[in-house]
């Protein structure tokens, strides 16, 4: 079954770690998963959250100066 998900990608693992830490501290939902193939063919990790968390995620990204690469909404098999 496919579900719509919010995906945030990063340039570095450190960026992903900062994101996870900020989300955990502020109760923003989501978790780290391998980057889906449809976004980039490289390895790496990304933050996956429910699409309704997008405003909270975006606000957190700006306020805490999180270093992100891209923001996507994708249908993922989950």
């Amino acid at each position: 079954m496919e579900e719509k998900k919010l995906i945030v990608t990063f340039g570095t693992t450190a960026g992903a770690m900062a994101m996870e830490k900020a989300c955990r501290e502020e109760g923003v939902p989501g978790r780290l998963i391998p980057v889906p193939r449809s976004i980039t063919a490289g390895c790496g990790m990304c933050w996956m959250a429910p699409p309704e968390a997008r405003p909270a995620v975006e606000e957190l990204m700006i306020r805490r100066r999180l270093q992100t690469e891209g923001l996507y909404e994708l249908l993922l098999r989950r």
């Binding site: 990063f10 340039g11 570095t12 693992t13 450190a14 960026g15 992903a16 770690m17 900062a18 996870e20 830490k21 780290l32 998963i33 391998p34 980039t40 063919a41 490289g42 390895c43 790496g44 990790m45 270093q67």
Partner: protein
């Protein structure tokens, strides 16, 4: 063994350090190489270590703390990655070979280097900075504290000079990290190079460089990064930019535990404790017949190091006697700082270096001073 060779490495670590390393060796996957629990456990601890180091030196960006195996590797990366043929760089006679050899290599490749001279007590005059600057000067590379005499350099003054002339300032904090405060923002420092196994009480094989936002350092090592696998070049973002290959996650877990301990204990408390012992030793040995103590003891900020010689006795023989007869560990010889030894006139003799850390005691220090007194009587 009374261990007074802490400027080489702090032998006695807080017990939490070995525990953290042991736990990491059974728990850690490879950080940044997957998102399963074990990989993330490693990645989280490593990121936390970046935050701890950043807090210690006032680096605003934890992701601009790049880990290396030690200060030497960090200094090599900084020097080779910032300067090139045609660039002039200012440094000092106080430097360790981890700065000097990369600079000499730069010179062999067409760069130029000017050194602030040290006097016969090992002191530099920062007013000389204005004398060595040239139109093509691009940077200043300066130790925070001499590993031979323990004298500290006034980094705020050096940075004021560098900032006024638009020069990149690289500070070698090998001897000072964990003892003397640094603030990259307030002091306009571009790069701080540090090692984990001395005043930070972490494991050997840990170290790194903290980089000011916007400063571009060319990587000399490229390879596995865990991100952008199809790029033919190393990804440009810090810290990945300078961290090709698997990090020393186990060691960094130990460094993280050590930094927790250091924060709880307090850098200032550690410094006061260590310096009190160094001062106690200095006062007990400085007037002994035949004893020469090097460095500036007239109130200059310093780290807990005392370098001395007994008459013209080979420093290696003194150090060996201290170890074999008195069970006291010191370091003899040239201390990888050839320009400093030239300035002090100790090229042939070297010096016997005593250096303190948190786990040393007054009793140990008294025993070391009595041993020196006994050797001085025999000479």
């Amino acid at each position: 063994m009374i261990y007074l060779d802490n400027a080489a490495t702090t032998r006695t670590k807080p017990p939490c350090v070995a525990r953290a390393v042991t736990e990491a060796m059974s728990d850690f996957g490879n950080s940044g190489r997957g998102t399963h629990d074990d990989a993330l456990t490693a990645a989280r601890v490593i990121y936390q270590t970046r935050e701890q180091v950043a807090a210690l030196v006032g680096c605003p960006r934890p992701d601009h703390v790049c880990f290396t195996a030690n200060s030497t590797e960090a200094l090599n990366i900084a020097i080779a990655g910032l300067f090139g043929p045609g660039d002039h760089v200012i440094s000092t006679d106080l430097e360790h070979n981890s700065v000097l050899r990369p600079l000499y290599r730069l010179r062999a490749q067409g760069g130029e280097v000017g050194f602030l001279p040290a006097d016969s007590r090992g002191r530099i005059d920062l007013d000389d900075l204005e004398k060595v600057i040239r139109p093509n000067t691009r940077g200043v590379i300066c130790t925070h504290a001499s590993n031979v005499t323990g004298d500290a350099v006034d980094i705020t003054r050096v940075s004021a000079f560098a900032h006024a002339h638009g020069l990149i300032l690289v500070v070698d904090a090998s001897q000072s990290a964990g003892l003397l405060p640094l603030d990259m923002v307030k002091q306009h420092i571009d790069v701080v190079c540090f090692t984990g196994h001395k005043g930070l009480y972490g494991p050997q094989g840990t170290g790194g460089l903290c980089i000011r936002e916007g400063l571009e350092i060319r990587p000399w090592k490229v390879g596995g990064s865990g991100v952008h696998s199809y790029l033919e070049t190393q990804p440009p973002e810090y810290p990945t930019r300078l961290e090709a290959g698997t990090l020393n996650g186990h060691g960094l877990a130990g460094l993280s535990a050590a930094l927790d301990w250091l924060e709880q204990t307090g850098v200032e408390a550690v410094r006061e404790h260590d310096l009190a012992l160094a001062r106690q030793f200095y006062e007990q040995v400085r007037l002994l017949p035949g004893v020469t103590v090097y460095g500036d003891w007239d109130g200059t900020p310093r780290v807990p190091v005392v370098s001395l010689n007994l008459s013209n006795w080979d420093s290696g023989e003194v150090s060996d006697d201290l170890a074999e007869r008195f069970g006291i560990a010191t370091r003899p010889g040239a201390h990888c700082a050839p320009r400093m030894h030239r300035a002090l006139g100790t090229e042939a003799q070297g010096t016997v270096r005593f250096s303190w850390a948190w786990f040393n005691t007054k009793a140990e220090t008294g025993a070391a001073a009595r041993a020196v007194a006994e050797l001085a009587r025999e000479r």
